[in-house]
Amino acid sequence: MSEHDVLNPKEMPLNPEKGTLEGRNKFVGFWFFLGGETVLFASLFGTYLALNDSVNGGKTSEELFGLELVFIMTMILLTSSLTSVYAMYHMKNNAFKKMQIWLGITVVLGFSFLGLEIYEFTHYIHEYEFTLRSSAFGSAFYTLVGFHGGHVLFGLLWIVSLMIRNAKRGLNLYNAPKFYIASLYWHFIDVVWVFIFTVVYLMGVL
């Protein structure tokens, strides 16, 4: 397949993300990468579970967390995962405009999640003086949730730059894998959040 065919395919295959060897490599490689990311978050969860009672005389999780806001955040992020599925559905149908719209909705939801998370953190810091340096629990909380937040931010910047870069030229076999793995990444972030919601917030309040 020549460079020209990759950028201007005569017809898009059913799974354009796997239309080239590079695409297939990206697909397999990214799954492996997510395997590594799983260990990364597992280590952070382990650390958090070991330290979530070590409040050092400061605020405990029961005193800090409220479920209302976190529940809204969870719903927003879950929805954004669904919208990115729609985007991929349209990618497979070679409907670039629709894919962009759904990705756009995903990004808006992602940013609202991030905004609420930043609000939550500032709330803890200003209302309760609960920071990274308050206790081992504080360190573990901000590191685990912050790592996830950092992943969200990175994912958002990634998807936005892909959308802008390809806005004018539409789908091809070169950028389809890029969109696809970005959406895989987004799902992964969502799954991690489900665990954070359960382990940090639900178990922290109950």
């Binding site: 206790s135 081992a136 360190s139 901000y142 870069r165």
Partner: protein, 618 residues
């Protein structure tokens, strides 16, 4: 392209630029070999300084503080900056050739992995020049590491973080290369054992390194941003570091050892002119060792106070690893059985490996016995044990691989005479150094001792040990001399100097940059051997001559790594002065900017046209 220019004289600048921007796995292999080799020499010099300090009781060759920096940097350098990259050198040089691929799956990531490792390695060593390198041991146990004054441990944390990211990329690259890019007919159960071991080692990298990444992040937050993960005064728990470190650290042993096992499997088979005995059992054992490697990390922590139940479980799990390892040893012996053994230099290293590594494995089972380990732990017995495994297993393997694949990488053969001299000096020196240390440990010498008191019955053993270390040093010098002499002479060899069995020997030495003009058709284990026994000279092609797609060279990986290197200084020195945050932002800006360019700029590679390929053949 590169095959044509190789014959012409080129300016130093253009060669340098070529290597800075290369994405060719064979050139990246050479970069790993050179950088890993230099760090190996550095780590070796540190080892000699350590041994010289211990040559007699209460010696004052180095100060206590400097000694602690030496042991820390010796361990860190040898594991992360010498053994790992040298393994990567041979994986890069050989794995794509063994599976009949023209390239790796992610040439860009491959290059990025190398530059991250190199700049991480440099970062680790910057500490020497800024008031002291890391001094908390290569295991950096908290709270000693979190309270160590100065910036030494900060350099350790950031250096390892950067080079660890590089290693992770390398691991993913090899996994995907092996999954996706095997030549037609190269099924999993026809892959050479070195490729198999590279595959399993890469999987271990993928699942082990993130634990270290997290550990290093937590340590960085504790040291630089005031968090309290490991600080008992803030409710932290210092033992968490040990768990994270060894969840990474124990698989790391197999990340190093498995590829070495792979190397020996190739060598035993080649130089006894026999198919590897029990190939499927060997594959099974490799995978099993990799799997069990994740279940045993806490055997490094028997004295931490985990209680008898945990200690017993981890003891038994650890002993279980001896079974697949034993399977390997016996299959190697039976590969030799009935063979036609040629005592070449690589084979000598492989034969030296068997008794040495068997002893390392024996002491491995002994230290796995928790209630006996209460005596061995943190004593010279353990020092002896892991040097038998890491030197007797891994370093012997690397020396063997260097002699075995040198022709493939450079097109010349290292002198056999000098090679054998290196072997005997190193082999004798090694056992002289480390055998006695088993007894020193049991006689009451803990590890990481800067001095030992007079009249404790430890003098003679330490003196012998030091003498052995210098023999090993001598052996290494002979190897370096061998390399220089061989390269100056520059006698070219054929593509198949050892009567090889696997695909890498079916192409010229060194291979053209596209490796295979036509992808080979693989018809079984030892594909080249099969063709040879059927009277053919080389592989049967699986395709007609066609255009070949190759990736473009790029400087971006280098720039990204430089960015992280710069950011590292910002991370460290912002603890003294917040103005350094600017350095952090600039560095991260360079790296993230390069990533953005990489993501947005189309990079489709290029094609070598059929006509040019045919012309070259003429």
């Amino acid at each position: 392209m590169s095959t044509m220019v190789a014959t012409k004289k080129r300016s130093f600048g253009s060669v340098l630029w070529d290597y800075l921007t290369t994405v060719d796995h064979k050139k990246i292999a050479i970069l790993y070999l050179v950088a890993g080799g230099l760090f190996f020499i550095l780590g070796g010099l540190e080892a000699l300084a350590i041994r010289w300090q211990l040559v007699k009781p209460m010696n004052d060759f180095v100060s206590a503080g400097f000694y602690n920096e030496l042991i820390t940097m010796h361990g860190t350098t040898m594991i992360f900056l010498a053994a790992m990259p040298l393994i990567f050198a041979f994986m890069n040089a050989v794995v794509p050739l063994q599976i009949g691929a023209r390239d790796v799956a992610f040439p860009f990531l491959n290059s990025l992995g190398f530059w991250l490792f190199l700049f991480g390695g440099i970062m680790l060593n910057v500490g020497w020049f800024t008031g002291g390198a890391a001094d908390a041991g290569w295991t950096a146990y908290a709270p000693l590491s979190t309270t160590s004054p100065g910036e030494g441990v900060d350099y350790y944390v950031l250096g390892l973080q950067i080079s660890g990211a590089g290693t992770l990329m390398g691991g993913i690259n090899f996994l995907v290369t092996i999954v996706n890019m095997r030549a037609p007919g190269m099924t999993y159960m026809r892959m050479p054992l070195f490729t198999w071991s590279a595959f399993v080692a890469s999987a271990l990298i993928l699942f082990a390194f993130p634990a270290l990444t997290v550990g290093l992040f937590l340590m960085m937050f504790d040291r630089l941003f005031g968090s309290g993960f490991f600080d008992p005064n803030m409710g932290g728990n210092a033992v968490i570091w040990q768990h994270l470190f060894w969840i990474f650290g124990h698989p790391e042993v197999y990340i190093l050892a498995l590829p070495a096992f792979g190397i020996f499997s190739e060598i035993f088979s080649t130089f006894s002119k026999k198919r590897l005995f029990g190939y499927s059992a060997m594959v099974f054992a490799t995978v099993l060792i990799g799997f069990l490697g994740f279940m045993v990390w806490a055997h490094h922590m028997f004295t931490v106070g985990m209680g008898p139940a945990a200690n017993s479980i981890f003891a038994v799990a650890t002993m279980a690893i001896a079974v697949p390892t034993g399977i390997k040893i016996f299959n190697w012996l039976f590969t030799l059985w009935g063979g036609s053994i040629q005592l070449t230099t690589p084979m000598l290293w492989a034969l030296g490996f068997i008794p040495t590594f068997t002893m390392g494995g024996m002491t491995g089972v002994m230290v796995a016995a928790a209630s006996a380990d209460y005596q061995y732990h943190d004593s010279y017995f353990v020092v002896a044990h892991f040097h038998y495994v890491i030197v007797g297993g891994v370093v012997f393997g690397l020396f063997a691989a260097a002699h075995y694949w040198w022709p493939k990488m450079f097109g010349t053969v290292l002198s056999d005479k000098l090679g054998k001299l290196t072997f005997w000096l190193f082999f004798v020196g090694f056992h002289l150094t480390f055998f006695i240390q088993h007894f020193l440990g049991l006689m009451g010498m803990p590890r990481r001792y800067w001095v030992y008191l007079e009249d404790q019955g430890l003098d003679l053993g330490n003196a012998i040990s030091t003498a052995g270390a210098f023999l090993m040093g001598l052996g290494t010098i002979v190897l370096l001399y061998n390399i220089v002499v061989t390269q100056v002479k520059g006698e070219k060899v054929s593509g198949d100097p050892w009567d090889g069995r696997t695909l890498e020997w079916s192409i010229p030495s060194p291979p053209p940059f596209y490796n295979f003009k036509q992808l080979p058709l693989v018809r079984g284990l030892d594909p080249l051997w099969i063709e040879k026994t059927e009277g053919r000279k080389g592989m049967t092609p699986a395709e007609p001559v066609n255009d070949i797609h190759m990736p473009n060279s790029t400087i971006l990986p280098f720039v990204m790594s430089v960015g992280l290197f710069i950011a590292g200084f910002g991370f460290i020195y912002q603890k003294d002065n917040l103005a350094w945050l600017w350095v952090l932002f600039i560095g991260m800006g360079i790296t993230l900017g390069s990533m953005l360019i990489r993501s947005l700029k189309d990079d489709l590679g290029f094609h070598i046209h059929k006509k040019d390929l045919e012309k070259e053949a003429e």
